[in-house]
Each structure stands twice: as C-alpha cells, then as structure tokens.
C-alpha cells in the first residue's frame, strides 16, 4: 500500500487547479465522511473538534497534487490525513496555551454533558492519542499492523508495541468498570 503525500503547507496560489471536481469531492466525503469523523472523534473526544478536523481533511483533499487511485488507497490516505491533523492539533500552541483542553472536555462528558458515544468509545478516548489511533485502525478499520505502519508512517515494531501497550491500558480502564472483554 502506498500512501500519497499531500501539500503540507497548502499554500493557495492564484490560478491553482484542483485535481478533484466538486462532485468528486462530494462523493468521497459522502462515502468516507463517517470514517474521517470517527477517527477524529476518538482522538479529540469532542464533536466540535471532530467537525474542525473533518474540514481540515477536506481542504487537504482539495489540495492534493494527484488523484489517488483505488478506493483502499484513498481511504488510507484520508485516515492518515485525519490522524496527522489530530496530531497537529495536539501539538499546536492553541491547544497548549489557549483552547479548552481535551481532558476538560472528556471530564465534562463524564459529568453528564452532551454525549452520544458508547461506553467503549469513552474508554478508548481515555487513552493517549498514539494508542487510540492504533487500536481504532486495528479493531474498527481492521487494518493489519503492516498497513497501520504505512498509514501512520512509522515502523511495524512501533505499531505492534503501541497495540500491545494500548490494549493493556484499555484493559485496565475497562477493568475499573468491572468489564472483562476478550481481545
């Protein structure tokens, strides 16, 4: 599987031609919109933030320099772009210094705020992003360790390690709630 690169800076220049038409972008978003949204929501634990990430990914899609051939490649690219956007969010000055932080949002959800996610989703959201990303791709999107490594642009050993540690951490969280799940 080859993951296409996208223009990181996304500078807009006069006369730039976009590779996907309006209708094509609409079709892609209709097909993979929920996939993007779920990956972002697991990472950022907030619907508002997931909405923002969704739009960021759409813009990255618009700025692609070449079309992505094959549905599987396209889906993988969208997931990679989503997770990259989430990582950028975590690293951002805005997050560190200014915005309401992820943990605060989670706590509010636990305290009875608006929450539509289920119990397992909430538990997944308690994990650090690097673990929840791998677990989500493995258990929900059903990618192999090799494929996840390509999506996340990292080594297979790293993915395997994160999968193992993430699973252990998740088991502990689930155990606190008195639930024993088979993995």
């Amino acid at each position: 599987m080859y993951i296409y690169n996208y223009a990181e800076d996304g500078t807009e220049e006069g006369g730039e031609t976009y590779i996907y038409s309006h209708a094509e972008i609409e079709n892609i978003l209709e097909k993979y919109g929920d996939t993007i949204y779920r990956a972002a929501y697991i990472q950022l634990k907030s619907r508002d933030k997931a909405d923002d990430i969704y739009q960021e990914v759409c813009i990255k899609l618009l700025r692609l320099k070449q079309k992505i051939e094959g549905e599987e490649h396209l889906k993988a690219w969208l997931l990679r772009a989503t997770i990259d956007c989430c990582k950028d969010y975590w690293k951002s000055v805005w997050y560190r210094k200014v915005t309401v932080d992820n943990q605060m949002v989670t706590e509010q959800i636990e305290e009875g705020g608006e929450q539509e996610a289920g119990y397992l989703t909430e538990c997944m959201q308690q994990l650090p992003g690097k673990y929840s990303a791998v677990l989500h791709l493995f258990y929900y999107e059903e990618y192999s360790i090799k494929e996840i490594a390509e999506i996340l642009n990292t080594k297979e050993n790293t993915v395997a390690s994160r999968l193992s540690r993430g699973r252990d951490k998740l088991k502990k969280i689930l155990g606190k709630g008195g639930n024993n799940y088979e993995f």
């Binding site: 220049e13 919109g33 949204y37 560190r96 605060m104 705020g113 650090p128 992003g129 799940y181």
Partner: protein, 252 residues
C-alpha cells in the same frame, strides 16, 4: 464479551454531524474562489481603495488578542484595539491546584510539559464562582454551561471555557484571565489570516471586535469582568451577539 464486535457496534452508530459535508464543501468553494480570483481581487481591491480613499476598513489581519503587561489588547492589521486594564482575579490558586489533583493537561504522547496547566470542570456557575472567585458577566441573566477553568500557575494566568445560552442562541466562549503576579509579555489568542468585520462599541464606550477567522468562523472579542473573551457564534447572528453585548454593557 468480544471487544472488537462491541466496539464496532458502537462506532457504527457514530455518524458525522448533519450538514458537515455541505459545510465543508461550501468552505472549500469559498477557498477555491478566493484562490482563483486572488490576483483579480488584488487589482480590484487596489482600484477600490483608491476610489474610496480607505473609507471602508476590512482588514486581512493576523489578529492576536493578548495581555501585554497591564492591558488587554487585540492586534489587528498593525493597529490595536484596547480592552482596558487587567486586574488579577482573586483566585486561590494553590487551593484550586490541590482540588484539581492529577488533572494536568497532557497531549498526544500523554506527557505533560512545563509550564504545567491544571484544570477543573464545574456543573454550574455557582460552583465555579465559589471555588475560583471568577465572576462571569450577567451570570444572573444568562445561563452558563459546561464551565472549565484552566490555570498555568507558573505564568499566573489561565483560561475559562463555557457555553453561554441566551435569547435562544448558544455561544462558546474562551476567556483569558490573570492572577496576582502576572507579568507575561504576551499571552493570548491567535488567529491567522483573520478578517476584521466590524469594530463595535457597546455599553458605556466599551470595545468589541467582530472577526471572521481563516476558516470563515465568526468570532467576537470583548472584555468583561477582567476576562478577555473570544466568543464564537456560528449558531447565532451578529445582531443576537450585539444584544448579548448590550446586556453586558447595561450591567455596568
């Protein structure tokens, strides 16, 4: 129970926000339009400015609302909007941190990095006020929900986030406050490529600045109760926001 099956069932129920795709496409179209017509716009804008002699001010800015030793300001296209003198909130910081316990902000790698940031969430304005001594504007007239208070003790400043419900609309606010000993050169809100839509006066000569950020989101900056607020109002209109600001202004 099988985790994979149960998790899949939960995730399948999670759908993206209704209308998000059309919103994203609209946003893309706007950016596309801006991109295609950028040079034409430059010439048109130059001609327009020459004709009207700068009578209309729509600035493309890097706006930065900040606390610069003693005052809240919003930088906008080389100019500044003043929001007044900063007064420290009489907050019991040590007590707040003690109550916060392990609630320290962490990131992607689950690491907290200095300067450490502590937070607490509150179910009501009254709870928040009792613990922090922070006063929010017109708390007896508007409803504050989902209140979170964050503090960076090392820097003597922090943020308060909340949802305001008033007159059938809801707004998300991010407020910046300071505590005793604040002496940071610059601590604030950043917006790249934002556009000042309107500079607005309310109450007794109080300043507010309506801004459209790079993603087209509407926000307004204003200062009340020694807190500099950035408030998004994607669900409300500018008219409704002005009514809310009027309420804040009348309360003085």
């Amino acid at each position: 129970m099988n985790f994979k099956e149960s998790y899949k069932q939960e995730m399948d129920l999670l759908k993206k926000t209704p209308g998000l795709t059309s919103k994203a496409i609209t946003s893309i179209q706007e950016k596309k339009y801006r991109s295609y017509s950028a040079w034409k716009m430059v010439f048109a804008a130059a001609a327009f400015i020459c004709i009207i002699g700068g009578a209309v001010q729509h600035e493309k800015i890097i706006s930065f609302a900040e606390a610069i030793i003693g005052r809240f300001t919003l930088s906008a296209g080389g100019g500044k909007m003043e929001f007044g003198e900063i007064k420290a909130v009489p907050m019991d910081v040590e007590g707040f941190i003690k109550d916060a316990g392990t609630k320290i902000v962490t990131g992607w790698d689950d690491k907290a990095e200095p300067p450490y940031s502590y937070y607490q969430n509150f179910n009501s304005y009254e709870d928040m006020n009792r613990v922090t001594n922070i006063v929010l504007p017109c708390a007896d007239k508007v409803l504050y929900k989902e209140i979170s208070v964050q503090i960076v003790p090392e820097n003597n400043c922090g943020h308060i986030n909340a949802q305001i419900i008033y007159d059938g609309a809801s707004y998300n606010v991010n407020g910046m406050y300071t505590t005793k000993g604040f002496n940071q050169d610059s601590w604030g809100f950043g917006e790249n490529n934002a556009e000042t839509v309107e500079k607005y006066k309310y109450g007794n000569d109080r300043n507010a600045s309506f801004v459209k950020d790079a993603d087209g989101h509407d926000v307004v900056y204003f200062s009340e109760e020694n807190i500099l607020f950035k408030m998004s109002f994607n669900n409300g209109t500018r008219k409704q926001v002005k009514k809310l600001l009027g309420l804040f202004g009348d309360n003085k």
